[in-house]
């Protein structure tokens, strides 16, 4: 039903501010922090976000229709966007990638296209627009104005300290969206 689709399923333990805009069928895992003014929009299909993610202000995670398909055309199956655990979406980034693994960092004002697949440990640098149709190998760093790439030897550390701090401080200053008590939180399988 439509009403069930428009309510976000926020697992217990997630901290989602009321000022964030969540539209469509969105599932958010435990220990994820969504800052005010973040936008998670599931237009063309549901979005499933795992645990321990950090989505900062003005970040935009959008499951939108591809450019050449009109919203109302038939035969378009809704594709689910899956986001793994321990990812960081920094301020002002935009992500349309359908599949994001674990421990990735998408830096400020980065722009991810729909056909990208991030594995784990990838870092998309600030202001990098990456719109190719490929699977980014593990531990890749994309940086610079020319989107240079290199491979780092270790994955970026999960931001546990920052997450703990925010989960304590944000409720002091913002109202939170209601969490849904589910028996098992929905987490995407690790690849």
């Amino acid at each position: 039903t439509n009403s069930a689709k428009n309510v976000a399923k926020i697992a217990a333990g997630a901290v989602v501010c009321v000022e964030s805009e969540i539209r469509g069928e969105v599932t958010i895992g435990a220990r994820t922090v969504v800052h005010p003014k973040a936008r998670i929009i599931a237009e063309a299909g549901p979005i499933v976000i795992g645990e321990g993610n950090l989505i900062e202000e003005q970040a935009l995670i959008i499951n939108s229709y591809p450019e050449n398909i009109a919203p109302d055309s038939e035969g378009v199956e809704p594709k689910t966007m899956t986001i793994g655990i321990n990812n960081v979406f920094e301020v002002g980034c935009m992500s349309q990638a359908l599949k994001i693994g674990d421990n990735n960092v998408i830096e400020s004002k980065a722009d991810l296209g729909r056909n990208m697949i991030l594995t784990s440990g990838c870092i998309i640098g600030a202001c990098c627009q990456v719109n190719t149709c490929e699977v980014i190998p593990e531990n890749t760093v994309i940086f610079g104005s020319g989107c240079q790439r290199r491979v780092q030897t270790e994955r970026p550390q999960p931001q546990t300290l920052q997450l703990d701090f925010l989960m304590k401080i944000l409720p002091n200053y913002h109202h939170m969206k209601k969490t849904v008590k589910t028996t098992s939180a929905v987490t995407p399988a690790k690849n």
Binding site: G125, T153, E154
Partner: protein, 468 residues
């Protein structure tokens, strides 16, 4: 329209060895010669060395010893950004009791831009925050040093012989010992003074000043010539079949920034110490006065001496341009700003036919014939509400507006060429300049201490394309 304020729209001509046209903001004004100077007609001298990231000053001798590199700061070998030191806690066994472990701090270098860390090339974490990092040694250092010593000695010998010949020709009666002494004295001060400015094509005199104090015996240094080898290492067998691991291949820039090793693999890229920057002072070549002398402190952006052209010469700027049409008269609005505190009188003169300086203009220009008067720059004008507006009686056909030390005036432009490209006009601007630097001569008649001299500058304006 911000593009009208771009600096390269209005160019002033500098008379030097080369005729240079450049915006007023890049020029200097020698008030002793009363002429404009550009960067190419002044001599540049190094004032001080400093590191751009830790802003530490370094005397020139120390900089030369450290090959112009900072001791504390490193550059990322991957993206050339400055590396920062990060600390982690690692468990380490206590020295007294090996079974217990405490958290010790370990430091590593990391780049904030490309996320390179010193662990990527296998450099172990250090226990001290700074000073623990070493650059790898060049295996050829010894050979290179020996070659440098040999050539230094050779240059010294050549220089002595040349000077001896020169002195022997001029003054045959001067004793040889005395002439050698003067040579050494001159050498001690090295390059940088007027006497020893490097002439292009001269032999390697720069090395000659470096070593060997007076009276030291010149040791004979012999070097072995380099030996040619017959056999070369063969290529590995899988050279053509092995797939390339692209992230591991270094780019040319990364490779050439480390000329000692030039590694082909990214796992051999070690960080290098950061290159120092210099503060330079400029000196007029004709009168040898300083035109620009920065402060010694690297954190200070001020100047001890700053004789820039914008603080002495009235500046012409374009304010608005109508649609330019081929062979139709258009009226362009320009502004003229007076940078000095006294009233300046400016006359504009169009370029005559066959003017050798007028090579770029593509349009005819009619400048106002009357003299324009610019009020002095009054720093307190914004705050002084009771100031009486000065009455200059401007001709409204010529002067569009007047605001403290700035006026707007009209010129008429008739584009002469229909081609693509910008319409360029040029004219001469003649203004009076009071030289405050000249020594005040005691005059019998009680004249004003500063007399005005008239300076003329050739100005070129780029007005944009013709709109059909």
């Amino acid at each position: 329209m911000a593009s009208l304020l771009q600096p390269d729209r209005v160019l002033y001509l500098v008379h030097g060895e080369k005729k240079i046209r450049s915006p007023l903001s890049t020029l200097y004004f020698c008030r002793y010669c009363s002429e404009l100077r550009s960067l190419e007609c002044v001599s540049h001298e190094v004032d001080s060395h400093y590191c751009p990231s830790c802003l530490e000053n370094m005397p020139s001798a120390e900089a030369k010893l450290k090959k112009n590199r900072c001791a504390n700061c490193f550059d990322c070998p991957c993206c050339m950004h400055t590396l920062s030191t990060r600390a982690t806690n690692i468990p380490a066994p206590l020295p007294d009791d090996p079974s217990k472990t405490t958290m010790k701090k370990a430091y590593y270098l990391a780049c904030g831009f490309c996320r390179w860390t010193s662990r990527d090339v296998g450099m172990a974490d250090k226990s001290v925050a700074s000073g623990g990092w070493q650059e790898p040694d060049n295996p050829h250092t010894q050979r290179i040093n020996k070659l440098i010593e040999y050539y230094q000695q050779l240059a010294q010998r050549e220089k002595l012989e040349r000077d001896r010949k020169k002195l022997a020709r001029r003054r045959p009666y001067m004793p040889l010992a005395f002439s050698q002494h003067t040579i050494h004295v001159v050498e001690k001060y090295g390059l940088g003074t007027r006497l020893q400015r490097q002439r292009p094509g001269a032999p390697i005199t720069s090395l000659a000043g470096l070593s060997l104090k007076e009276g030291e015996d010149q040791k004979e240094i012999n070097i072995e010539p380099a030996q040619a080898l017959d056999e070369v290492e063969p290529l590995p067998e899988d050279c053509y079949t092995r797939p390339i691991n692209l992230p591991e291949v270094t780019s040319l820039r990364q490779r050439l920034l480390q000329p000692d090793f030039q590694p082909a693999g990214a796992s051999q890229l070690h960080p290098k110490h950061k290159h120092l920057l210099i503060k330079r002072s400029l000196r007029c070549r004709k009168c040898e006065h300083n035109l620009s002398k920065p402060e010694f402190n690297p954190t200070s952006i001020k100047f001890k001496i700053q004789l820039v052209a914008v603080s002495y010469i009235p500046e012409v700027r374009i304010m608005s341009i109508p649609n330019l049409r081929f062979q139709k008269e258009c009226q362009v609005l320009l502004t003229l700003t007076n940078p000095v505190e006294n009233i300046t009188h400016v006359t504009l003169v169009g370029c005559e036919e066959g003017d050798p300086e007028d090579i770029n203009s593509t349009a005819k220009v009619m400048v106002p014939t009357k003299e324009l008067v610019l009020a002095g720059k009054d720093a307190a004008a914004d705050y002084d509400e009771l100031a009486e507006p000065q009455d200059f009686q401007d001709d409204p056909d010529v002067v569009a507006f007047r605001k403290s030390n700035k006026i707007g005036f009209f010129i008429k432009v008739v584009p002469q060429r229909e081609e693509d490209g910008d319409v360029t006009v040029s004219f001469k601007i003649r203004h009076d300049f009071r030289n405050l630097a000249a020594p005040i001569r005691p005059s019998e008649e009680g004249d004003a201490p500063t007399e005005a001299i008239w300076l003329t500058h050739h100005v070129e304006l780029s007005l944009g394309p013709i709109i059909a």
